[in-house]
């Protein structure tokens, strides 16, 4: 499961709402805590990244690998890990779309924020598989 602390969560919601009606994207840094029930990823910091998709961004996003590399470096410097990616779905539910799946990577949690009429509505976290054919829902708390 993944737990997002108050401060990064507020930053992610603010970023998603400010980007409306476009999609936003960013990186989540944190640590993994082992508990008897399994591992819990805890997000301590959210980094807003630029949506680099060339074209209409109302229903598309793209992360620059350079920005991800910088986020990974920032995480290491702060003794954290890059554990997830977030993006928003303006006026759509927080599902993991075929486009999301086909451009995903099985290494990270993917948090999707549904923004309805400019306001945060709900969110889900997804774990795409290796072949980019399915994503499992991951328990998310914030």
């Amino acid at each position: 499961m993944i737990r997002i602390e108050t401060e990064p969560w507020a930053a992610m919601v603010a970023h998603a709402q400010a980007s409306y009606p476009n999609e936003c994207c960013g990186a989540m840094l944190g640590t993994t805590v082992s508990t008897p029930d399994g591992d819990t990823k805890v997000v301590h910091e959210a980094i807003a990244l630029q949506n680099a998709f060339e074209g209409a961004q109302a229903a598309r996003y793209e992360l620059r690998p350079e920005d991800l590399l910088a986020s990974d470096k920032a995480a290491r410097e702060r003794h954290m890990d890059l554990i997830g990616i977030y993006h928003s779905h303006p006026d759509c539910d927080a599902y993991f779309s075929t486009t999301d799946l086909q451009n995903s990577c099985p290494w990270y949690s993917f948090v999707v924020l549904s923004i309805q009429n400019g306001v945060f509505h709900h969110a889900n976290s997804w774990l795409p598989n290796f072949d980019q054919t399915e994503a499992a829902k991951e328990e998310l708390t914030y």
């Binding site: 993994t32 229903a59 350079e66």
Partner: protein, 92 residues
């Protein structure tokens, strides 16, 4: 020889190490020696045909290897290789 930075989710395949020093005079050789050291990593990074997976970008220091000679890009001691995924998506 180069230092390869291992993304968190792949450290389960590298005995928990967050970086691995791997020998090799080129990027291709470094990746080959890395995955020889840690065979379980191979499936994460390469297809069955031995090509780097489509969602994996390899950076030598701060440069995408696609622009500096791909697998043949020479590596020197002190160089850092990073494995960075391609990520995009969209609601529709």
């Amino acid at each position: 020889m180069a230092k390869v930075l291992i993304p968190t989710p792949l450290r389960q395949f590298t005995a928990k190490q967050d970086s691995v020093i791997a020998p090799g005079a080129t990027v291709g050789e470094v990746l080959a020696s890395l995955t020889t050291q840690f065979p379980d990593l191979r499936k994460q990074l390469f297809t069955d045909e031995g090509k780097v997976r489509s969602f994996v970008n390899v950076y030598l220091n701060d440069e995408d290897i696609r622009y500096i000679g791909k697998d043949a890009a020479p590596t020197a001691d002190g160089d850092t290789l990073s494995l960075v995924p391609s990520i995009a998506g969209g609601a529709r």
